[in-house]
């Protein structure tokens, strides 16, 4: 390169550096979530004992309560409507339900300790279901009558699939995403924790809670379509957790996740005293390419949430339902 070219090159580098600085963390819009006041709890059955998952349709919110073995139905403003399901192993009864989804005209529930998926109509009348060969954890509607069921690996065998797709009649369609297995089953349990967000075309997205910065996109067939690299400005902590003389380094990539209208809502875990990881107080909004679009501050830590039509339904530290406006 000639000496005359140097001033021009230096100017170009300076411009590029300025451009990089301008797109740094300070340029990401930051806003506060607007809380929607929720009516007082009402009857005893409206109180959530151990809410584990949420699902919504156009005018209802369904919360699965593992303690009460019930599905609790709310309006989208958080007003309690009714509850259905009870503890047991018979039709319509539940044992540690842990997942819920709205699929067509049905509400499907992961009936974990009965090893089955149960279906109800929107009014709570039991309407069939099917057995599965593992303890179902979460359940998601993929459209066209297909249901995606996640299962936590037992850690006792090799190549256990985490994801399973069934048709409406309970016929197995696909299974995949083999669990990571090593000699350390506790570490494996963290490495195999996944969050799932249904896609728009029958496909779905997978986020590893202790993952390394990407979102996996799967086609409706179950084939891995692409890995979406998450924006470097999406910050998450990595912490060494020490217990009983052993230490484990874990990344708190994502505590909870949801997807709404093409946007991902990812809440990175929060570092607690630099020695532990806990639920988040901020949610990052990313587009379909993984670019950070906004950061939303919440007034409380949230354990689980669902974003639907710009509205976030979240479970706070006390196990109570909170509703926020978070959409753009």
């Amino acid at each position: 390169m000639s000496e005359r070219a140097w001033p021009g090159t230096a100017a170009l580098i300076a411009i590029l550096a300025l451009g990089t600085a301008a797109s740094g963390p300070s340029s990401v819009p930051r806003r506060r979530a607007v809380e929607v006041p929720v009516a007082a709890a009402g009857p005893d059955e409206a109180v959530l004992g151990r809410p584990l998952a949420l699902a919504a349709d156009a005018d209802r919110l369904y919360v699965v309560d593992a303690l009460d073995c019930a599905i609790k139905v709310f309006t989208r403003d958080g007003r309690f409507l009714r509850s259905f399901g009870r503890k047991g192993a018979g039709p319509g009864e539940l044992s540690f339900p842990s997942g819920v989804a709205v699929s067509g005209d049905s509400v499907v529930v992961a009936d974990k300790l009965n090893l089955r998926i149960q279906a109800y109509d929107r009014d709570g009348a039991a309407g069939g279901g099917f057995q599965v060969p593992f303890a179902p954890d979460r359940v998601f509607d993929l459209g066209g009558g297909r249901i995606l069921v996640t299962g936590n690996p037992t850690g006792r065998g090799p190549a256990e699939p985490i994801l399973h797709i069934y048709d409406a009649a309970g016929g197995p369609v696909w299974r995949g995403l083999e669990a990571r297995a090593s000699n350390d089953r506790v570490l494996d349990a963290f490495r195999n924790m996944v969050l799932v967000c249904p896609g728009d075309d029958g496909g779905f997205f997978v986020v590893f809670r202790s993952g390394g910065g990407e979102i996996l996109e799967y086609a409706p067939s179950g084939a891995l379509r692409r890995e979406i690299r998450v924006d470097e400005r999406y910050a998450y902590p990595t912490v060494s957790i020490t217990a009983g003389g052993r230490s484990m380094t874990l990344a708190g990539f994502c505590w909870a996740a949801s997807r709404d209208r093409g946007l991902f809502y990812l809440a990175a875990a929060e570092a607690l005293d630099g020695r532990d990881l806990g639920p988040a107080r901020t949610v990052s909004v990313l587009d379909g390419q993984g670019r950070l679009r906004a950061v939303v501050d919440l007034p409380c830590a949230v354990h689980r949430f669902l974003v639907s039509e710009g509205r976030m339904f979240a479970i706070d530290d006390e196990g109570a339902l909170r509703v926020f406006e978070v959409g753009p």
Binding site: L52, N152, A243, G278, P279
Partner: protein, 73 residues
Amino acid sequence: MRKLAILALAGLILVVTAGAPYASAVDLNDQTDCNTNHMKCREYTLNLDAPWYKVMVLLTLCDLAFCKCALSV
């Protein structure tokens, strides 16, 4: 005396042979219980949604209880 010894040995073999399937069925049931309890322990822990230190300790306890259960079968 020799006849008596043969009879005793045959009786012993008969008892062991007859008892073996029963004993293995009991072991199988116990092992199934160990697996079921281990699964429940892990599922309760993983669904606690607690800070990960607590999850780590509880998962370790689940595995220790499973080992103890499996060894005592």
